[in-house]
Assembly symmetry: C2
Homo-oligomer: 223 residues x 2
C-alpha cells in the first residue's frame, strides 16, 4: 500500500537528517551562533513577530534571519527593509526544511557573524515539526483567529517546541478563543512548554518574550 | 543529497496516486456521488463553513462528510452533533490524504447513499495540494486573518482549486487585508478561480456559495 511505502522512505530520511542536525548543532556551537527554528500555520504572524523582536534585540545581539517559503520573497523584503540581515530560501515545492538545507542557508547568510539566527520555516503545522533543522530550540506561533484547538489536531508541533507564542491577542474580543483552554491543550502535548501571549501588531507582550529569548540565547552562548 | 532523493520517491508515489484517483472518480461516477476536496490552513474555518453549507443543502441533496486530521475528533463531533453524517479519518501523522486513503474513507462512510461527499482535508497549504484525492473538484478556504499574500507563497494550492472561499469577512475591519489584492494574487495562480467572500460565522455570502456548489454537483450528477 502506498502510505506504508512513504512512511518507510521517510524513516530513513529522518535518520539521515538527525545525524545532519547533530553535526550542524556542533558547528554552530563552535562558531558561537544560536539557531532558533520558528514555525506556525500560514498567516500566524511570524514575520511581524520577528520584526518586533529584531527591534528589541538591537544593540543586544547580532541577528540574522532566514526566510523559508515555497515561492515569493515578500517576507525577506519586509525584514530587509526594516534593516535586518535576511536571506530568502525557496524549498522547491517542499513543505519543510531539513538540516542540510538549513546548513546551505546558513553558509549563504554567512552565519559566523551572528549571535542568533532565526529560521522562519514554511507555514505548516505538520511537516516542519517532523524534521530537526539543527536548531537549538523550536518556537511555534498560534494566532487567536486559528482557534484554541490546534494542539489537539497537530500534536507533534507542540511536542517539539519549547516556546509557544499566542499571537494577535488584540483581536481576542472578536473570536471564540479560550486562553486557559489553549494553554491546557498545549500542556497536554508538552507539559514544559513556555507560553507567551502577545500582539506582534501592537507590541503587547513582546518585551517579556524578547527577554526570555535573550536569556536562552545567552545560556547557549556561554555553554 | 537528501532532498533530491525525496523528490524522486515522491514522483513515483504521485504517478501511482494519479492512477488511483482516476479509478476512484470512475467509481464515484458509477455510484452517482460527487466528491469535493476542501483544503485550507489550520483554523481557516472549514468546519464552520461546512456546517453552514450543510444547513443550506438540507432537503436538496444527501450529504456525507469525511473529516481528516492527524489526531483528535473535534471536527467530526461538531458535524455529527449538527446532524450531518460524518466519519473521522486519522492520517497516522501524514500531512495529506491520497486517493487510496480517500477510497478507504468512502467505503467506511458507505458513499453509495450520498449525492455529495465533502472531504475536509488536513489543515495545510502544501502537501494536500500535491495529491489528487479523486475528487471532482477542489475548494480552498483563506481566512482574512491569514493575509492576502497566501497565493504568492503557496502557488500549487491555488492552481489546483477551482473555488476560493475568503472566510471571516466579518473581521475585515480589524485586519490589513485587501480584498482586491487577494483576488489578483489568486488569479495570478489560476485565472479561472471562482472567488466567494463569506463569513461562516454570520452566514454572510453562504447562500451564493451554496447555490454555486449545488449547480456544480448537479452538473456532475447529470453528466
Amino acid at each position: 500500500m502506498d502510505e506504508i511505502r512513504i512512511i518507510e522512505v521517510k524513516q530513513s530520511v529522518f535518520e539521515d537528517n538527525d545525524k545532519d542536525a547533530e553535526m550542524l548543532r556542533a558547528e554552530l556551537k563552535e562558531k558561537k551562533t544560536v539557531l532558533i527554528n520558528l514555525m506556525s500555520s500560514p498567516g500566524s504572524g511570524k514575520t511581524t513577530l520577528l520584526l518586533g523582536l529584531a527591534r528589541r534585540f538591537k544593540e543586544r545581539l547580532r541577528l540574522g534571519v532566514m526566510e523559508v517559503d515555497i515561492d515569493s520573497a515578500v517576507d525577506a523584503k519586509t525584514m530587509l527593509s526594516a534593516g535586518v540581515d535576511t536571506i530568502q530560501i525557496h524549498t522547491g515545492g517542499m513543505c519543510h526544511l531539513d538540516a542540510d538545507m538549513t546548513r546551505q542557508g546558513l553558509l549563504e547568510l554567512g552565519f559566523e557573524g551572528y549571535d542568533l539566527v532565526v529560521l522562519e520555516n514554511v507555514g505548516n503545522l505538520v511537516c516542519p515539526a517532523e524534521f530537526d533543522t539543527g536548531a537549538h530550540f523550536n518556537m511555534t506561533v498560534l494566532s487567536v483567529p486559528e482557534g484554541d484547538d490546534k494542539p489537539l489536531k497537530y500534536p507533534l508541533m507542540y511536542e517539539t517546541c519549547s516556546v509557544l507564542v499566542i499571537n494577535k491577542v488584540d483581536v481576542l474580543p472578536y473570536f471564540d478563543f479560550d486562553t486557559e483552554r489553549v494553554v491546557a491543550n498545549a500542556r497536554m502535548r508538552n507539559p514544559e512548554i513556555k507560553v507567551f501571549f502577545v500582539s506582534a501588531k501592537t507590541g503587547q507582550g513582546l518585551d517579556e518574550l524578547a527577554e526570555h529569548l535573550l536569556e536562552r540565547v545567552n545560556a547557549h552562548l556561554t555553554e
